[in-house]
Amino acid sequence: MSEACPDKILLLHGLIDGELDAANALELEAHLKGCAGCSQELERLEALRRRLADPAIGYAAPEGLRARITAAIESEGARERRRKTGWSARRVAPFVLGGGLAVIAASLALVVLMPATPSLTLERELVDDHVRSLLAQHLTDVASTDQHTVKPWFAGRTDYSPPVVDLKAQGFPLAGGRLDYVDGKVTAALVYRRRLHAINLFVRPAHGRDGAFETSRDGYNLVRWRKGGLEFWAVSDLNRTELEQFRDLFEQRAGG
């Protein structure tokens, strides 16, 4: 078996890929007529390409991925619309008033209208707890996918009873529960997973009027909500759209 001419090799590939211009292609084909080495190399290349031509070699996207992506795009659009309209109301309100007294009233209006943002130290603490739970191989104290095992485990360990729901059918299986320490108090952490991601759901008694809130920190997403006197913080490196889906599903199931 003879070897192809070294200076022609890349051209041969160019030829079979249809990337050579007419002049170069003609010149190469003329060369091929007189060169056994290059001709054989071309045949070998074509044989290889035939083996690669089966369309089933490429992977098709799995079921449901298209729907998830479409949903994510839609909710991204919805979030942008919410964000835009929300801000304009807050910016406009103080300027509607005029005069000295109005300035004070305006500052008060700002304080009242601005969303109650949780203290940044709490967010940092939650992210630290989340990351630590992954690093220290201490993700769960009670490792069980059964809500009926995890929920009672907290009795006597926390003064409140966190709701624990089964979301395995929706793609968020329960991994277990853990005792954590947040803001100076023992706090329940429920661990769920989503594909390769871990979600730490911190549950504690609610205080103040803090309601729904979403933010990001250091590449982790945090979603907070309030229900039935309890405050829930979901922390994960999972994208925000799916984390919000998790919140919606959890809220639905925890209603009872």
């Binding site: 089933a56 992977y59 594909r195 390769l196």
Partner: protein, 227 residues
């Protein structure tokens, strides 16, 4: 036009700039950094018409995006994650899309997301040890391998074996040969688009492709089949 918080490759009317190493690093840094500042990102400001256009242009390439991600990462769950992330970033950065081949633009983003993912994964590798996830083996359900009416069961089995052998040989290729080969043979991108997606000059693309094919031919040589 609003500027996206994430630097995205610009394709379109003018030839894509030859990304030097610094340009690539900036791009990657922007994407890794951009991924960490999700809270305050500038809205891409897409209205319903833009959103529809985005879906029309980009959703048809979902299989291509997944296939490319799957071959880059060699992991089905990671590929799903990366494709989802890529579509979100593409959507947010859609105002930066200047026309040109949408598939190549999208695959560029998929590639960058895959790199970000790998980068983060090295840090997560120690962490996920404790999670003990079972890795799913791949999309459930039979993959279409042809018209069952036209193939005998024996032929279908032989073809299945051949497909797996080729996939394994591709998976065994080192980078950057694997990505170049997948883009050329499986995604059928012309050299110019491969050059843009992989941020490499065309000459480099050509020599990588030649090397990839040589390695693959070597790996697939025993055509008599497995012993």
């Amino acid at each position: 036009m609003s500027r996206s918080a994430v630097a995205l490759p610009e394709f379109g009317a003018w030839a894509p700039p030859a990304f030097g190493p610094r340009g690539v690093l900036r791009l990657l840094a922007g994407l890794v950094g951009g991924g960490r500042a999700r809270g305050g990102e500038a809205a891409s400001g897409l209205d319903a018409a833009d959103r529809r256009r985005f879906k029309e242009l980009m959703l048809p390439h979902l299989d291509a995006a997944y296939n490319f991600a799957r071959h880059l990462l060699r992991d089905p769950a990671a590929a799903e994650d990366v494709v989802q992330e890529a579509y979100l970033r593409a959507y947010r950065g859609f105002s930066g899309y200047r026309g040109g081949e949408p598939k190549a633009w999208l695959l560029s983003i998929v590639r960058n997301c895959a790199f970000s993912w790998s980068h983060a994964e090295r840090g997560r590798a120690a962490a996920t040890h404790s999670l003990d996830f079972g890795r799913e083996d791949g999309p459930a359900g039979p993959e279409q391998i042809g018209d069952p009416g036209q193939e005998t069961p024996e032929a279908a089995m032989v073809r299945r074996g051949e497909i797996e052998a080729v996939r394994a040989a591709i998976a065994a290729l080192p980078e950057p040969f694997r990505e170049t080969l997948v883009l050329r043979e499986l995604e059928e991108l012309p050299y110019k688009e491969i050059s843009a997606v992989t941020a490499a000059p065309i000459g480099t693309v050509m020599s990588r492709l030649a090397r990839a094919r040589a390695l693959l031919a070597e790996a697939l040589k025993p055509e008599e089949g497995c012993a």
